[in-house]
């Protein structure tokens, strides 16, 4: 198998060497590029742009939650007729939370994170000249771009964008009579997501094929960096679960437009009985969460992979328990597809199913715990280089632990009864998948920025400021949120002061919003750093972090084909940091605490079985 793959890779060389003599125009280089490095930058910048929209929306509704009686001119500016007189309209509040969720989960953390780094790192770290199909890769990006355009366009629809929550449960999402956003806004939402799914599938298939077929000579599966393992497994989960969301979306489109009754039954709304009979909203919930739950692992696994890589590199130590890390990625991926029901304990499904899903859900805590312990052990007795990527990786482990632990409460069907759909859930998933995945994204951007922008590096001091504002602010936002959840406050309430019972939560909400504004302001530091470093950043050495993986052996200047000469051959696993020679007098390579993967085994070192 491996020999065959190598032949194939070599074939490819000749072909591509020939390829990059073609003259490139502006359009083929920057717009319809088939080069994975350019596509990854396109993904990142589109993702960041969507992220700005998503975070700005969260600020608007945080203002509303903290100061419901106050009039803000900013509503008038951004919300137009829904913010007249500085008062936010309740329906636009729901639209904001809906689109915030959709954008952050799909457009930022799926496409922006996995799309960016899978594209950048898969070919570079496995030693390939490009993706298996550069063309499909390009199509995948442009479909993503198109779906982003549709999503943004839906914000300008007369009756308002989709506002049934990012989970778009019917009948609310199916009936424009139920909420204004379920008209044209929801149609655009569904169109956008359908295109997004196509994009994500094309991307995922490409990643899988590339990892299986285009590994360079010597790059066995057990020598893959954990980043590649996580991108590979993420792509598999995507292929398994995204089509299910497409089927749910198609059935919803049919219920909305063609009078079918997949999800609708016995409805009396706006003074009349609908003809629909026999459908079930619970079916939609099953279909949605069959994607929706694996989706959170699609978001978090790439972050985990990158964090493992960045932690090992900057600790100057091998990642602890490589095989356990791979096994836990596989275990998480498998379990992620059989736990979706924990979103539905009180949906009306049979309580016995609830028991089964509690069992599988709590099982997933085991590989997660193993990963956390292994990360902590990776730090132990290291020589930690506090680069910004490293700081964000440590931040990731911290929020993954604090957010993950509350999952033990939510995953327990009995305990879920009373915290389901309260702010406790909001706090939990924001920490464990939102903030953690964003930290993974930042870790990746700081670490691989030189690879993306031809050796230019992000300013480290601005990076430190960004990191410390973000970690303090994020805990300031989401720690207190657990309390208002345990006080019984339901989520997606336009205001909590309409009846007196939750009046005493107002100052908690103020604290949360103040921290949210503070944290969001901190992201401006990052944006400034990102844009200015892109053009004026200092150029670092070819291998700035003294890393072992193959991407740092590739040309600093971007060329199509990545390596000017032949593709490097791999002789060892990717974590030979601080490995000593046989008599333990010095490192394997004297004076250098790392051995890159393309260096052959030395006479003075022990071969180890990792």
């Amino acid at each position: 198998m491996s020999a065959h793959a190598n032949e194939h890779a070599v074939d490819h060389d000749g072909h591509d060497d020939h390829g990059h003599h073609h003259k490139e125009t502006f359009v083929t280089k920057y717009i319809f590029s088939q080069d994975h490095k350019m596509i990854s930058k396109q993904y990142l910048i589109t993702g960041l742009f969507m992220g700005i929209i998503g975070i700005a929306m969260s600020l608007l509704f945080r203002l509303q939650l903290a100061w419901p009686d106050h009039q803000f001119t900013v509503y008038e500016i951004f919300l137009g007729k829904w913010g007249e007189g500085g008062v936010m309209d309740p329906s636009v509040y729901l639209a904001l939370v809906t689109i915030h969720g959709t954008i952050m989960v799909f457009f930022v953390l799926t496409a922006g994170l996995s799309g960016t780094f899978s594209n950048l790192l898969i070919p570079l770290q496995i030693g390939a000249r490009d993706m298996a199909s550069g063309f499909l890769n390009m199509v995948s990006y442009w479909l993503f771009f198109l779906s982003s355009v549709f999503m943004v366009l839906s914000l300008f629809v007369e009756a308002g964008p989709a506002s049934a929550g990012w989970t778009i449960y019917p009948p609310l999402s199916a009936l424009p009579q139920a909420i204004p956003g379920s008209g044209a806004g929801m149609t655009l939402w569904l169109v956008s997501m359908a295109i997004f799914i196509a994009s994500s599938l094309l991307g995922a298939l490409n990643y899988i094929v590339t990892v299986i077929n285009l590994r360079t000579k010597g790059m066995s599966m057990t020598r893959l960096p954990l980043t590649i393992w996580s991108f590979f497994v993420t792509a598999i989960i995507g292929v398994v679960s995204f089509p299910v969301l497409l089927s749910a979306a198609l059935m919803l489109i049919m219920d909305r437009s063609f009078g079918t009754s997949f999800f609708l039954s016995d409805i009396y709304i706006a003074g009349e009985v609908l003809h629909n009979q026999g459908g079930s909203p619970v079916l939609f919930e099953h279909l949605f969460w069959f994607l929706g739950h694996p989706e959170v692992y699609i978001v978090i696994l790439p972050a985990m992979g990158m964090v493992s890589e960045v932690l090992a590199t900057n600790s100057r130590k091998p990642v602890f328990g490589y095989r356990a890390m791979v096994a836990s990625i596989l275990a998480i991926a498998f379990l992620s597809t059989i736990v979706w029901g924990h979103h539905m304990f009180i949906s009306g499904m049979n309580p016995f199913l609830g028991s089964v899903f509690t069992f599988t859900t709590l099982l997933i805590a085991i590989p997660s715990a193993v990963k956390s312990f292994n990360w902590i052990t990776t730090l132990w007795k290291g020589n930690l280089q506090m680069n910004t990527g490293m700081l964000f990786s440590i931040g990731f482990v911290s929020t993954f632990i604090t957010g993950g632990l509350t999952g033990i409460i939510l995953g327990d069907s009995a305990l879920d009864i009373n915290v389901h759909d309260t702010y406790f859930v909001v706090a939990h998933f924001h920490l464990v998948m939102g903030v953690s995945a964003l930290y993974g994204l930042f870790a990746g951007v700081y670490h691989w920025f030189p690879k993306m922008f031809e050796g230019r590096m992000l300013n480290k001091n601005l990076g430190y400021v960004h990191f410390w504002i973000t970690v303090v602010g994020a805990y300031g936002v989401f720690f207190p949120m657990h309390f208002i959840g345990m006080a019984g406050l339901p989520r997606r309430y336009y205001t909590n002061t309409n009846f007196p019972y939750f009046d005493d939560l107002t100052d908690v909400n103020v604290v949360i919003s103040v921290f949210a504004i503070f944290t969001a302001a901190g992201q401006l530091v990052f944006l400034y750093n990102f844009v200015s470093s892109m053009f004026y950043g200092k150029k670092g050495p070819q291998n700035p972090w003294s890393s072992t993986t193959l991407e740092w052996t590739a040309e600093v200047k971007h060329i199509h084909g990545n390596w000017d000469g032949p593709i490097p051959e791999v002789h060892r696993w990717p974590y030979d940091y601080s490995k000593l020679n046989k008599d333990e007098s010095d490192y394997v390579i004297a004076g250098q605490d790392f051995v890159p993967q393309h260096i052959p085994m030395q006479d003075n070192e022990d071969e180890m079985d990792h």
């Binding site: 009948p171 709304i269 009995a414």
Partner: protein
């Protein structure tokens, strides 16, 4: 409070800008620190900050408990709720313990092993014993939690009809609740949204003999100590019947009937005397008095003092007025309940009018 926080945020932002500027200056003046790669000095500073960070996390947690411990829900007002709260305390104790230890190790290692030029990291790639230990410990602990949780869950969800629970329908629609008592026969009449007409707001089948003694109300009264089996229906979209004080919740799904049962164990009157509730109500009333002063200054009417009542809240996004869809629940003695029920007209009486 708000003003204070606004000032705080301005100060924090000011500090951030000032620090930024300082860092800019530093990076300009020091020729040697020209690289964007962390130097030993960066490692040192960030190592100490990491240690500070774990104390910040602990502080935040303790502060939240101290400051906002009183906003949490009071003791459970239902029989199964006590068991749920016990499970919650055990789980919370566990996650606090694990959280405290792991966060400490994470930050302490980040501090202790902060990089120095002359230091050498330990090549420590794996250790089967260690990994076995920290796989098997979560397995055992979680197995315990799973078993405990599943017993609790099954007890709550499997309604034993031999207890002869009182059957009550909860009916949700945009944006309000109705409750339908099954009357003397303890059997609800058939109902479907297709039968909604005029005063028959719930679509009850008027020809069903079981429906005649049904009683439809918009305030839920429950007798103390009697098991109630709620049958939930929805008229239009998904809603969720959330009764936080009873640790009870179930979605209302159009096209199907869902159910949840519990036994109320504390009357509204007694709950109002509960220490936590008294504190909470006093705090809410203090805020309302402050607000009333503001309103009075504007010449508007002040707010009435608040009195505690159990609530049924909608907890599934259901439309524009989702935030304002609740029903009062009154738990009272059997006598009071019977007296109240006497005053309510039956379905047959309502239809005749």
């Amino acid at each position: 409070m708000t003003a204070f926080l606004v000032v705080l945020v301005i100060i924090l932002f000011g500090v951030a800008v000032w620090q930024l500027d300082k860092i800019f200056q530093m990076s300009k003046s020091e020729g040697s620190n020209d690289s964007e790669i962390a130097s030993d000095k960066d490692n040192n500073i960030n190592g100490y900050l990491m240690l500070g960070f774990v104390f910040f996390t602990y502080f935040l947690l303790i502060y939240c408990f101290w400051k906002w411990g009183d906003v949490l829900l009071p003791e459970a007002a239902s029989e199964h709720g006590q068991g749920l709260d016990d499970l919650m305390y055990i789980s919370m104790a566990l996650i606090f313990f694990v959280g405290f230890v792991t966060l400490w190790l994470l930050s302490y290692f980040a501090f202790k092993y902060r990089g120095k030029k002359e230091n050498r990291a330990l090549f420590f790639a794996d250790n089967d014993t260690l990994e076995f230990v920290w796989t098997i410990i979560p397995v055992i602990v979680l197995a315990g939690l799973i078993i405990y949780g599943l017993f609790t869950w099954t007890d709550i969800m499997n309604v034993d009809t031999e207890d002869d629970p009182m059957v009550v329908e909860l009916y949700a629609y945009q944006f309000d609740w109705r409750a339908r008592y099954s009357g003397a026969d303890n059997t609800l009449g058939e109902a479907n949204v297709r039968l909604i007409e005029g005063v028959n707001q719930l679509g009850v089948d008027a020809s069903d003999p079981n429906a005649q003694d049904d009683v439809v109300v918009n305030e839920l009264h429950l007798p103390l100590g009697r098991k109630v089996l709620f049958k939930m229906r929805s008229q239009d979209v998904l809603h969720s019947a959330y009764m936080p004080h009873f640790r009870a919740q179930m979605n209302c799904v159009p096209g199907m009937i869902t159910q949840f049962a519990f036994t109320p164990s504390i009357t509204t009157e007694d709950m109002r005397l509960n220490e936590d509730v008294v504190d909470k109500v006093n705090e809410i009333n203090r805020l309302r008095r402050e607000k009333s002063l503001g309103l009075a200054a504007k010449g508007e009417e002040g707010l009435e003092p608040y009195q505690f009542d159990y609530l049924l809240l909608c907890n599934k996004i259901c439309g524009t007025n989702h935030y304002n869809m609740q029903m009062k629940i009154v738990v009272e003695s059997q006598e009071d309940y019977d007296a109240w029920m006497e005053t309510q007209p039956t379905f047959a009486e309502v239809i005749k009018k």
